[in-house]
Symmetry: C2
Subunit: 206 residues, 2 copies
């Protein structure tokens, strides 16, 4: 198994946590977005959208982090990421999509670059944009978060894998983390687990 | 079953197609985003993120269109939206997320409003922003699209349900549809089917 990875990428971070929780190991190929390595023809041949991560497994190349999470959960059913109950599955996915479809795409690097280069926005305005969407999105998730445990209940599940990297971004961008105490609690409890700590952007590549 | 719906909403449009394909009917409750009906306390009690659609079924309220699609496919297995093969499932999901996570969130109404009100962008700049992200995203999907049939093969599947509403937006915003001939073919073949035509934003509510 080969993971095209970039340590700070929130989407790649989700997949690293999933691999760790399932006890799977993948060779990591670094695709440095800051150096625009994702825009080379070589990487575009792997991933038509020039996005990280991609996962190579048994000759297939899988793209889009959430599709990779679903694939890993179906292909390697040990330590499930989604519960059995259909409504609970929908709730885990909805929380994950609340990040993946409502927050992360709006705050990521290519968007910030466009705001600066095409719309002449300075760093202060761009950072305010980032914090606005993070705050709006995470505060809505906060209202659905438990006071103890994890979004997945007694153990981290699908939603936790997607929310934790977003909370990491919230901290990094100076978003209003005081307004999301439940999510901060979940974030800390997750980070205390090896599967999350070893996947952290600051963890040395194994 | 009750669908909180708004005819022009791309996310609600996905769910309407899925219901039609599966032969399910839902009472439609109109939540007019243009009139900010999604921002009322009454609707926020239904959907903490103030987003459309929401689906009420058997006492549970489900949110996030893609989570609703997965739920409908698991709960009502007739006329599956996802194939059996795990890699093909991942590919269908990846194409859907390529729209739902990479294009749609960046071009939707609340973003355009922020660009205008907080960043002083005029309509031309905002429309250019919308077309930029639609073109970038759909052109990447075009490279993965077949010349005949559907993204799902011989019949529309999960990816088609998400791509068709995005192509509708591409047409509406004057994006470069000449550069996506395969997707335009799929769009036309889908729209010729009753399940898609009846879910179209311009179709009369049944």
């Amino acid at each position: 198994m080969k993971l095209y990875d970039f340590a700070p990428s929130s989407a790649a971070y989700r997949v690293r946590i999933a691999l760790n929780l399932k006890g799977l190991s993948a060779d990591r190929v670094d695709v440095n977005l800051t150096d625009s390595e994702h825009l080379t023809d070589a990487y575009r041949a792997v991933n038509a959208q020039s996005l990280v991560p991609s996962l190579e497994h048994e000759g297939a190349v899988l793209t889009q982090s959430l599709a990779i999470l679903e694939y890993l959960d179906e292909r390697f059913p040990q330590r499930p990421l989604l519960p059995q109950d259909l409504v609970q599955r929908a709730q885990q996915r909805a929380l994950a999509y609340s990040v993946a479809c409502e927050i992360h795409p709006i705050q990521n690097l290519r968007i910030r670059r466009y705001l600066a280069s095409e719309m002449g926005q300075d760093e202060a305005a761009t950072n305010q944009w980032v914090r606005h969407w993070i705050d709006l999105g995470l505060q809505a998730i906060e209202t659905q978060a438990p006071q103890a445990g994890f979004l997945g209940g007694t153990q981290p599940m699908f939603a936790d894998l997607v929310v934790v990297p977003q909370v990491f971004n919230a901290v990094r961008f100076g978003a209003d983390v005081d307004s999301i105490p439940r999510l901060m609690g979940i974030y800390e409890r997750c980070n205390a687990l090896a599967a999350f700590a070893d996947a952290h952007p600051s963890a040395p590549a194994s």
